[in-house]
């Protein structure tokens, strides 16, 4: 197995990536909003699932 190659370049910002990929500023803002909302929804769902699992554990204990 070969050794991993070290990536040492700084993380690009969303704006740098959007510019490179030819995505407009307006569209980039829409994508940011969509991604942030999607992540927030997922995190809420995960929190709710954790809470349910905790309740179940307490009930059975």
């Amino acid at each position: 197995m070969r050794k991993p190659v070290i990536v040492d370049t700084p993380y690009p910002t969303v704006w740098q990536t959007a510019k490179k990929m030819g995505v407009s500023r307006k569209r980039t803002l829409e994508i940011i909003k969509m991604v942030d909302e999607s992540i927030a929804r997922r995190q809420e769902k995960q929190k709710a699932e954790l809470a349910t699992a905790r309740k179940k554990r307490l009930k059975t204990a």
Partner: protein
């Protein structure tokens, strides 16, 4: 490597509907490491295609070559797609003739398949990811490392899930693209993956 973008990685992968999740996994995995994926999907007409492909590859510091789809297609006459091994050959030839620090990685879904399909690469360890696209994330973690922020399985999986469950369908709807293998959809997926990485990779959370 004059002109090569140190934050760009060329994806040499099949553009096939059965491969959509694999494609999203590569975008997510590469983005988690702070690299922007590039692909021949971006190429528009103009110069000879081969010249444009080479220009795109040589503008990237890294390349990922997935040879798992080198197989006969369903359409008659049944023909294997040679583009992926050909583009890998371009990189290997280029790096042997004019070494410039470009790092290339061969990915396969099955162990020992490469020895059979491309024995000229004996001595090169492929990154074998198995049947599940999540294996691609694991193998990208085996291929790459960062000293500052090493992305772990959880955020990489979350970036992939975000692309797969939400971003891809939203982008297809908004752009009117019929698949993720269209230039505009690809460009927007890359931006979505970059934003996801910015939010989900611990230590990167700033605006």
């Amino acid at each position: 490597m004059p002109g090569a973008k140190r934050d760009s990685a060329f994806l040499n992968i099949p553009y096939d509907r059965d491969y959509e999740n694999h494609f999203l996994a590569y975008i997510a995995g590469v983005a988690a490491f702070g690299l922007d994926p590039r692909a021949t999907l971006e190429l528009t007409s103009g110069e000879r295609r081969l010249d444009r492909i080479f220009k795109l590859i040589s503008a990237c510091k890294y390349s990922f070559h997935d040879l798992s789809f080198v197989k006969l297609d369903r359409k008659s006459p049944a023909t294997p797609r040679f583009n992926m091994p050909f583009e890998l050959g371009l990189v290997v030839g280029w790096q042997n003739a004019v070494p410039s620090g470009h790092d290339w990685f061969v990915f396969e879904s099955s162990r020992h398949r490469l020895q059979k399909s491309l024995s000229d690469l004996n001595g090169t360890d492929p990154f074998v990811y198995g049947p599940d696209p999540n294996g691609i994330l694991r193998e990208i973690r085996n291929a790459l490392a960062r000293h500052d922020l090493q992305p772990t399985a959880a955020p990489m999986g979350d970036i992939f899930e975000n692309l797969k469950e939400d971003a891809a369908s939203w982008i297809l709807k908004k752009t009117g693209a019929s698949s993720v293998f269209e230039a505009r959809a690809f460009a927007e997926l890359v931006v979505a993956a970059r934003r996801s990485a910015q939010v989900l990779v611990p230590g990167l959370r700033k605006s």
